[in-house]
């Protein structure tokens, strides 16, 4: 028996060494990161913790809410009167269209029946209020005050009075998280109203939007309005999304750089409408399987 290998008796037990603990927790964090970013396995755990944290979050929102009410109360009468006059004028302007809309919808339905076309989907919606911008500075998201308890589901489109605002990406029991169209990872299939050109709109930095992968000679002009094309099965067709701000055509690149500005008040707070889910589009015809089989066979033969 050797005495050399013996450690001195531990007087103060402190558990594993700091470095060992650090390595353990770093591996745990990295595992969580991969699970969440790559596989999205942690949504259920997130929902549970978020429900527990909900009272604290509401309490933290209280001072901001109080400040809003306070400033509302002292906002001048003149501002309210001006807004009232504006709203009345707007109502009169739209009355012409609204009064005839019912008639036109009926007529449209009859004509569609005559033409044997599929009826357009009726639109349902839930009013919601934007509470605050999510704290995460790496993405553009807002929190609205309606959640799973109010029948909101992930993937629903969110609009305001001027156009598309974004899409519900995460639903908590009493709140939900809306990713704005200006988020880098948010894509909206759109078409240009003037010529019907279909393309996809992405978020860009600085609260702007960008039409990517359009050829340098594509027929896009500043001032063109973009509406949803409805090809994605999420957004109803024809909702205004953005207006083209500037088109840069550089001969060195094969794509034009087209910047757009959102139609909706994306970076402002207020009331929004969460549209009901659309009926799913008919399933796409899968051709890849038929094509895959012979190649597999050939590979197998090659190995033999």
């Amino acid at each position: 028996m050797s005495v050399v290998g013996h450690q001195p008796p531990p007087f103060f037990k402190r558990g594993p060494a700091p470095l060992a603990r650090l390595v353990f927790f770093v591996i745990l964090s990295l595992a969580l990161l991969v699970l969440d970013l790559k596989y999205r396995y942690l949504e259920l755990a997130r929902q549970g913790v978020a429900t527990v944290l909900y009272p604290l979050q509401r309490a933290a929102y209280a001072p901001v809410d109080l400040y809003g009410q306070f400033s509302d109360y002292f906002s001048s009468l003149a501002a309210v009167q001006r807004e009232n006059v504006q709203l009345k004028r707007k109502e009169l302007e739209s009355a012409n269209w609204l009064l005839r809309q019912q008639h036109l919808e009926l007529e449209n339905q009859r004509l569609r029946e005559l033409l044997d076309m599929k009826a357009r989907q009726p639109v349902s919606g839930t009013m919601a209020e934007i509470l605050y911008t999510a704290r995460d500075p790496f993405s553009r998201r807002v929190i609205v005050d309606k959640g799973g308890q109010h029948g909101i589901a992930g993937g629903q489109a969110v609009v305001d009075e001027a156009g598309v605002l974004g899409q519900v990406t995460r639903v908590y029991p009493l709140q939900s998280e809306v990713t704005l169209v200006t988020d880098k990872n948010q894509a909206v299939p759109v078409k240009i109203v003037r010529n019907g050109l279909r393309t996809v709109l992405f978020g860009a930095s600085g609260g702007q939007l960008e039409l990517r992968f359009l050829a340098a000679n594509a027929d896009v002009q500043p001032g063109d309005s973009l509406v949803t094309s409805g090809l994605d099965g999420v957004y109803l067709p024809g909702l205004p999304v953005a207006k083209v701000l500037r088109v840069e055509r550089d001969a060195a690149y094969s794509f034009a750089r087209i910047l757009c500005e959102p139609a909706a008040g994306v970076e402002k707070h207020g009331q929004v409408l969460i549209l009901g889910s659309r009926d799913p589009l008919p399933p796409q015809v899968v051709e890849t399987e038929a094509r895959d089989k012979p190649t597999k066979g050939r590979k197998g033969k090659g190995r033999e």
Partner: protein, 175 residues
């Protein structure tokens, strides 16, 4: 174990209470949750308080606490799971390791030690998110660390307040 606020101070502090550490963390969490929009230069209160207790009491506040608080912050702010926990973890490790050194300095130099730690915390978060495919939030994001370092002075005073005892002058006592 009573510690002096700094090496030059003659005051001796009362031992810290565990519930006060917890309470200060909850308060910092609450401050972080207040939605102030995209106001630039808002400090990360939780990181600041974690750094403070990691420097002051490295044996009471460990990496496990930092990890759990980070996870809660991830859920509350809607970011990727593991982003805050990884960053806070490293902050707690570095602050705990440097604890003996930092406490030797007066407050100005302590704040100068804390600034790179807070910056490194933010850099860890930026790198995790950029690897995950997010957008760079702009250089204004890092202003939060500078305001955090400035807050080191009032924070030290406020968080040590329950540990101060009244000054009683006794000429015969050695310390």
């Amino acid at each position: 174990m009573a510690i002096q606020p700094s090496h030059s101070s003659r005051r001796i502090l009362l031992p810290v209470r565990q519930w006060f550490i917890l309470f200060s963390l909850v308060a910092a969490f609450f401050l972080n949750l207040i939605p102030l929009g995209d106001a630039p230069g808002m400090p990360d209160w939780v990181a600041l308080v974690l750094a403070f207790w990691s420097v002051r009491e490295p044996l009471r506040l460990g990496m496990g606490t930092a990890f759990v608080v980070g996870l809660l912050m991830d859920v509350a702010s809607g970011s990727v799971m593991g982003q805050h926990s990884l960053a806070y973890l490293m902050l707690s490790y570095a602050a705990g390791g440097l604890s003996r050194r930092i406490l030797w300095f007066p407050l100005v130099q302590q704040a100068l030690h804390i600034l790179p730690l807070l910056l490194a915390t933010q850099v860890v978060m930026v790198v995790t998110r950029l690897v995950g495919g997010a957008d760079f939030p702009g250089w204004g994001y890092f202003l939060g660390s500078f305001s955090g370092a400035l807050l080191w002075f009032p924070l030290t005073f406020v968080l040590l307040l329950p540990q101060y005892q009244p000054i009683e002058k006794d000429e015969n006592r050695p310390i």
